[in-house]
């Protein structure tokens, strides 16, 4: 009994082993060079669709796209750097370039650009190309540009007598008051203080605050320009023009469609999202426009966007460069735009009719001529998040503007302490 049991067990195991062995023999070996590409957010979801075309033209290269959400991207990159497991290339927000170039994680691309027939600095928006240059070295090739403009409900504006969007802050405040008076249950504008630092930052940039002073080693957030910007920001919440409880807006698009708020300062990816997610009945009722400025001209906005970078430890740099060149060609820039709504960094791509005649994209082109860069310090991301925390406190009336800016100053000065030491000692 026991013997037959043992024999049958042995036979089963042997059979299993054979099957697995044969399965291993049968698989095809992939001899192509593999390029690992980390892409974030929306682009992470969509860029894989562009890769088959590239692989057709470059049969020896296989691109593996790994999608990572934005809120995990920063820590994943730093951990990968520390753990020496960086990918070959990634999409890097241009405000992170100072940080990663300081780490020595990314490659200086001037040599590659010089040899390229396809990629030249002159083809890009000058302000954007500049965000990739540090100490005259080039660390990334701009992939798409990003700035923030005002998305709004044209029908709700018309109901309060605004057939054209506001051009100045005073018009903006007047419009918000009128919207609130007409519909006290709803709001004029949505500022997501729980996860965006852009709105208060933009207001500060529009008031011409330098943000940091003394060669970017000290905080200037309690300087009069930024304080005035934050007072205006606080007024939106105090007057009920913006909702204080931001978590009730679980779905941004649904709330916009319901008219919970009429304005939203956001970026180009939402052109695609709004077109896809808003109901058909509302497709003619929304529009984009450049931001209103403190006086009657276009207010400045963020000079954002992402670049494509090559990581220094990569063992396949020539292949990575081919991917970068491919993604920088105008047809691919336009295809990315069609897939995600991300605006091309390459200026020629804008001549294509899909952009030139896209009424939502044209205001972005205008706004891109009025952008200001943020300080190029490695600690910028941390500072921006601290700003967001204090903007939330101000919105909820937990701190006055003066108290919050004093506390922000203290925190930012602490964050920059190492930078001060580095600049003084070296």
């Amino acid at each position: 009994m026991a013997l037959t049991k043992a024999i049958s067990l042995f036979v089963t195991l042997a059979g299993l082993g054979c099957v697995l062995f044969c399965a291993g023999c049968g698989s095809k070996r992939d001899t192509r060079t593999e390029v690992v590409f980390w892409a974030f957010g929306q682009e992470g979801e969509r860029v894989a669709k562009l890769m088959p075309e590239f692989e057709r033209g470059n049969p020896g290269i296989k691109v593996r796209v790994q999608m990572i959400p934005w809120n995990a991207a920063h820590e994943k990159l730093l951990t990968a750097f520390a753990g020496q497991s960086l990918p070959d290339m990634c999409q890097l927000g241009n405000t992170w370039i100072p940080e990663f170039s300081l780490l020595g994680a990314i490659e200086d691309l001037r040599v590659w650009v010089a040899r390229s027939t396809n990629v030249h600095g002159s083809s890009y928006f000058p302000g954007i190309w500049d965000t990739n240059m540090i100490d005259s070295m080039l660390f990334g090739v701009p992939w798409y540009v990003d700035t923030r403009v005002l998305f709004y409900r044209t029908d709700l504006f018309a109901k309060v007598g605004y057939t054209k969007p506001p051009r100045s802050w005073s018009e903006w405040f007047d419009l918000s008051a009128k919207l609130k008076r007409r519909d006290p249950e709803n709001y004029a504008i949505f500022f997501p203080t729980n996860n965006e630092f852009a709105p208060p930052l933009i207001l500060g940039l529009q008031m011409n605050s330098p943000l940091l002073k003394d060669h970017n080693t000290r905080s200037d957030f309690s300087g009069k320009e930024f304080v005035e910007a934050m007072r205006a920001f606080h007024d939106f919440f105090k007057n009920g023009w913006a909702p204080v409880k931001t978590t009730q807006i679980v779905n941004v698009y649904q709330s916009f469609a319901e008219g919970l708020y009429a304005m939203y300062i956001t970026g180009p990816w939402n052109i695609g999202e709004f077109s896809r997610r808003l109901p058909d009945s509302l497709q003619d009722a929304w529009m984009t426009t450049p931001l209103p400025g403190p006086d009657s001209s276009i207010g400045v906005s963020l000079a954002g966007g992402s670049s494509l970078v090559i990581f220094k430890p990569s063992k396949h740099k020539p292949e990575v460069w081919k991917v970068i060149e491919f993604l920088s060609e105008p047809p691919q820039q336009l295809e990315l735009y069609r897939l995600t709504g991300d605006l091309p960094a390459r200026m020629e791509a804008w001549k294509d009719s899909s952009l030139a005649s896209n009424k939502y994209a044209v205001p972005f082109f205008e706004q891109l001529k009025h952008v200001r860069a943020t300080p190029k310090v490695p600690e910028w991301e941390q500072i921006a998040q601290k700003l967001r925390e204090y903007s939330e406190l101000i919105a909820m009336d937990r701190m006055t503007v003066t108290q919050a800016m004093a506390a922000l100053d203290r925190d930012v000065d602490l964050i920059l302490e190492k930078r001060r030491w580095m600049l003084s000692g070296q």
């Binding site: 820590e75 730093l78 300081l102 729980n194 409880k245 978590t247 490695p378 939330e392 909820m396 030491w421």
Partner: protein, 261 residues
């Protein structure tokens, strides 16, 4: 060791950029209002969630041991099921349960006349919301341990008590509780250690907000260490947490031994 340096992103670039600053990290830590807030939040979670979780698991264990209840296996599985679910999936569902307008919790409250509560958006209610979810998720684990403890109590003790004329709750206080003392001690220490390290629930549900009302010590440590790469500072937080848990655990076991004698 790391906590005595200011290892950060500059040091990640070039090791020579790390300075030995001895106790400066600790000084900065104790002056940081965010650290005290995180500590307060963690204690809030522990002191409310801990007893709640233990009481609930004891009640569930007693119920499952009682002769009056049928389908014990089904209940046991149902109460233990939350323990084995993945936190991220559960958190997504609970985010909708807690939704101020469409969530089922506010709907149920409205049926008995209580107005809508912004569970995850109101700084006063966010931590209770996290506590509720964490207790629901973990009480099954302690329940199983209590069941094992209860099964170890000899039946003769209860029979002797009923012969001696013990009334309703006397057997519970005179027999069950003292006999469960070692199990209870074990569970409270384990729960305390676990709850001090609260991280996953706030990380997934609220990211520490709103207004840092759900920021726990470990979450703060994670943010400073892995998001901003202030490794030296983060190591100091870890060391302080270790010291707190050590003191807590020792005090706990000393107190219970003292009560037991």
């Amino acid at each position: 060791m790391l906590s005595f340096t200011d290892f950060d992103i500059y040091s990640l670039a070039n090791f020579a950029n790390a300075r030995i600053i001895w106790f400066k990290n600790y000084v900065e830590l104790f002056q940081d209002p965010l650290f005290w807030k995180a500590l307060k939040n963690t204690f809030y979670f522990l002191l409310v969630g801990g007893p709640l979780s233990i009481a609930l698991s004891l009640a569930a264990a007693l119920m499952l041991q009682s002769k009056l209840v049928r389908f014990k296996g089904l209940f046991r599985t149902a109460y233990f099921a939350p323990v084995v679910t993945t936190l991220v999936a559960v958190a997504v569902v609970w985010r909708f349960v807690y939704h101020p307008r469409y969530g089922i919790l506010n709907y149920t409250l409205s049926l008995i006349g209580i107005g809508p509560v912004d569970w995850l958006g109101d700084p006063n209610w966010a931590m209770p919301a996290i506590i509720l979810m964490a207790v629901w998720k973990n009480f099954g684990y302690n329940m199983i341990i209590f069941i094992a403890g209860l099964q170890n109590i000899p039946e003769e003790l209860y029979e002797a008590a009923s012969i001696d004329g013990a009334r309703k709750l006397q057997p519970f206080w005179s027999i069950t509780v003292p006999m469960l003392a070692p199990t209870t001690l074990f569970i409270t220490i384990i729960t305390m250690i676990g709850y001090f390290q609260l991280f996953a629930e706030p990380y997934v549900m609220t990211q520490g907000g709103p207004l840092n009302s759900t920021l726990s010590i470990v979450l703060l440590m994670y943010q400073r260490g892995f998001r901003w790469w202030n490794m030296g500072y983060s190591a100091a937080i870890a060391f302080v947490l270790f010291a707190i848990i050590l003191v807590g655990g020792v005090a706990q076991s000393r107190t219970q031994r003292w009560v037991g004698t």
